[in-house]
Amino acid sequence: MLTRRNLLRTAAAGGLFAASSALLPAWARSATAGNKGIFEVSGNAFDLTVGHSAVEIGGLSGHAITINGTLPGPLIRFREGEKVTLKVTNTLDEDTSIHWHGLLVPFHMDGVPGVSFPGIKPKSTFTYEFAVPQSGTYWYHSHSGLQEQMGHYGPLIIDPAGTDPVQADREYVLVLSDWTFEHPHKVFSRLKKDAAVYNFQQRTAGDFLKDARENGLGATLADRASWGAMRMSPTDISDVTASVYTYLINGHATEDNWTAIFNSGERIRLRIINASAMTIFNFRIPGLPMTVVAADGLNVQPVETDEFQIGVAETYDVIVSPTRARPFALVAESIDRSGQVVATLAPEAGLVATAPLLRERPTLTHRDMGMDMASMDHGSMAGMDHGTMPGMDHGAMDMAAAVPQGHDHKMGVGVDNVAMVQVSRIDEPGLGLESVPHRALRYSQLRSLTPNPDTRAPGREMEIHLTGNMERYMWSFDGVKLSEVTGPILFHEGERLRVTLVNDTMMTHPIHLHGMFFDLVVGDTDHKPRKHTVIVKPAERLSFDVTADHVGDWAFHCHLLFHMHAGMMQVVSVLPRNAATGADDPHRDHTPSDTPVSDDPPPKEAPMTGMSHEGHR
């Protein structure tokens, strides 16, 4: 209904928007600000400046760390195989860095301070130079501190050297992210003190009155009651929820209504990048199927779906072909369903797609807790109240039954749970998507468009557990956080190995390996999907095969920023073929029934201080 209040609000928002649009790159401006497509900056030389900027999001002012003054940073576009030079100037008072996510660069160009280069000091310039043998949709972001949370990220597209096998009439980049008006260090320290601090759908008396005015008192009361009733611990799903975050598409909140234009019958390519710090999204366009044509930059055999879960740092390219000239909603909903961001795909500017209602929150099941339904007494579980789960003592679950699992990682304060029964969940669409009234993408559906370059059987296997203590906000691999780790994970140049990840936590973790693509084991096929980041579901056991063909030190971590910050990160060292062997590798014989980690050799050197391997390129 068009009331005076609404009119005024719209006018105010429009005014703010006009003021802020100058800060946005042309391709990220909404249609009302004149954007009709992507403004492409292509070339071989790029000047990037990292600095502080004021931003306007959803009508509110905030402070961001930006690249060239925009949030997200500019779309960097170049061609496969061409040498590019990127001069990055740091105008901040602290170190910064840019990591080219998913790009196969030499390791000293990878941009991870302490692992592959020293970082970019304040008021200095670092020049990245590389040529990469790949094309597709990628992104870049800071690997320093929590800058990524403050806006230090942007999209990157590499056009193929030859003809693109994916043809479209037009394309749009959709950078999904989470924004907070709070300083991320404050958010993090609150999580450390009380992991449940953002659990509650904290809404103020002001919100209540506002909602009551708009929706009526009864509806608002009912709404509050239902949220209260549904409130299990979102810690189990997302640590940081919409109570803190404003979710963004191309730097725009829902109110900003970023709009992509199409003509009926066109093939539109959407390049979707999850550049969030902490938010796994469910992406869908209600009423419009999507054909997935690329995952993590690399082409996959086309597969049609209606929704997919996109982990932090993953990218998907989809083709949509709307045949009806009506606005469609581009919806990115946080995995815990505490919030969403909606943009519009419309036949003309000025339309606003109808946003779907937030769906019911997903609840964790016993499967997510690593407890096998089949082996348990169903009767006794009927009375189990999920609402009481936040207070549940996970320590009590580390019962004798955990032993047969054969985990060999460190137990103790940093590990509060061990999945007793880990299962392959590669054929599941992800938390909350099992019961949606349409198709949802599963990793098991993905097949590389081209045959895998290396089809050797793995010569070696290693198992890495994802571990944590949620109450204390400790996150780690194999129970050892980065600051206490004794040495890098060793790969040997040229070897083919299988890495199995076991998620001993009840959270979904997007795990990222720098420097190489890995082939997700989805069955016996030589067209395994190749990825740089993979979602590992709660209590899931998932494997990938990887060829260690890029010598150097590479970061390996959970891409939930605060998890990485808390220690869920290690270094993978790919040792050159001729390097002296005999390095102590705590993961070398990492198989069930192994000796405890504490029996492993003492650290031979600190992992984070520029490990130098002779003979690396």
């Binding site: 054909t291 909603a329 109808t354 099941t365 499967r367 019961s435 949802a440």
Partner: protein, 215 residues
Amino acid sequence: MKLSHSILAAAVVFAASPAFALEGDSSATAMQNSDHCGLPMGEGTVAALDVKASKATIDHTAIAALNWDAMSMDFKATKGVDLSAFAAGDRVHFLLTEDTKSKSYRIEAMCSLDAPKGLHDACMGKMHETAMALAAASGKSCEMGGMDHDAMPGMDHNGMKGMDHGNMDGMKHGDMKPADAEAMNCKEMCAMMKKSSDAPPADEKPAAEMDHSQH
């Protein structure tokens, strides 16, 4: 070019797969009268939507199961229905249940006949799953074949993940003549669903044709 060869090869494989041999969208009538575990089904055209209020106004044809004549009606939709996926003018199928409190019927599931085929078929499959779940919850038998729902009072829906509706692409309503569809009961339907869930996912082929080779 090597690349285009492999794509072409993939396209050939798609074309040869059973899913591709099926065509036509005669599902409109096929499912119309099929018995969704005894729950009433309606068909009509969306006249208006109020997504925020979960309300849809539908000009529906006669619904024999309820002795309703054709008319325009406002329906509330349950939370599982994503009304934002629809637009005024969409021809739809919808599954109704009676809300005992308000003595009114509400929409439990709805599918657009104007949606692309893949989406429509997936939606109809999910609608049937909803019908089965509702029947099971109310203690009505839905002739579920070998599946014994009585033995699963505290049924964790998670356990149903093994049932892969994504795989139902192979099940095309278009396949069925209306008469077949009418004759088809839940038992057959469930058997089909069970069968399709047993199929290895690798067999699943994308439904969309993307002939890159011609570009």
